[in-house]
Symmetry: C2
Subunit: 188 residues, 2 copies
DNA sequence: ACATATCCGTTCCGAATTGGAACCAATATC
DNA sequence: GATATTGGTTCCAATTCGGAACGGATATGT
């Protein structure tokens, strides 16, 4: 009971270990607990470009076999990839994006857009993206799911959602100061 | 000369070390070389929620002071944050998002959207986002910079951009097989 | 039949990164 | 003069990582 509050507010310990961030009530922290490790997003980049087999991932990425094996297993465990047998004799497996994995496309595309604009070396983007829908060279923009306008930080107001509401209410009823509830928002 | 090709194709060494991914001609790899380390995106999440001071970051995140100091310095070095003196005596500093830092908003919002949908625990999202433009609770969608339609992986065709074109041309004139040029695309 | 190749990993060890805690310096406040 | 606050740095043990060798199941060449 008290424990879970402390977990959210991180008063239980001076510092939180990285392998515990999935316990935070924060969607970014939870996302990163699955895709936030070294190599993982690069593996997914390759998956979106069509790579499916262990060897190809290893060659394309230059990751060690050990690390690759570990990362792929974790992605399978979290249903971002599925391990599919594509050959009986000898038994051979490949890794394919699931719906959950495909849903990461916006994350990768926004990283591409940022890198193209802010990390280029003056030689233009390494890859160009042609949108078959409109035929133009394009980049990704984050826009509103309802009105379709591009999202700007100052026009988006974060507020306590259902998952945090009750925690906040309990804290308030126990006389916790507003500052700690604010801090809750920061952690969500 | 040959070195730079090997760098791109990663034939020079069996494996590439993580601290060298910024040398890849890949915008995702380059982006991750700045924001891909543990804690960094969580620090930026806090920055977008208004945190500016060393102590507040430390309290909110539960990161060690050492690590925080290192990450902030790196973000300042890459102009994602600026260190601004907000008090003369005693000299006190705070960290603010630059334009380059603000441009990371889509990355964070797409991580939030993915986490809300795929990593929730059945209690609804921790934070709700109200878009002042339309007044609704919304989430971020990646859409086309030209036609505005939501981006779907199968409708986006990646092709060699200027930064890779010349490398590919040189490889071809030297008789490298098409497979290695394909691999170039994968690395870009 | 036997050697070699391919694919998909695992095991092991030294090197690099991280977490945890203590320490430090400049100034404000009691 | 003692204690608190802000913004760090230093140090060491624990964890994670990179590199290279090894393994097992099967195909392929000779």
């Amino acid at each position: 009971m008290l424990d879970s509050q402390f977990q959210v507010l991180q008063l239980a310990r001076d510092c939180m270990r990285w392998d515990q961030i999935d316990q935070q009530r924060c969607s970014i922290a939870r996302s990163l607990s699955v895709v936030g490790e070294r190599w993982t997003l690069l593996i997914l980049r390759d998956a979106f470009l069509g790579t499916r087999r262990f060897d190809k991932f290893q060659q394309n990425l230059g990751i060690t076999r050990h690390r690759l094996s570990e990362r792929l297993s974790k992605l399978v465990k979290h249903s971002v990839l599925v391990k599919v047998q594509y050959n009986n004799r000898p038994p051979r497996y490949e890794y394919r994006l699931t719906r959950k994995g495909l849903a990461l496309y916006p994350v990768l595309m926004s990283l591409v857009a940022w890198g193209d604009e802010w990390m280029n070396d003056g030689m233009g983007p390494p890859l160009e993206l042609v949108h078959l829908n409109c035929g133009e060279k394009i980049h990704a923009v984050a826009s509103c799911s309802t009105c379709g306008e591009p999202l700007r930080p100052e026009e988006v107001r974060p507020q306590l959602g259902p998952a945090l509401m009750e925690v906040a209410a309990r804290l308030e009823s126990e006389g916790e100061c507003i500052e700690e509830i604010q801090s809750l928002i920061r952690h969500s």
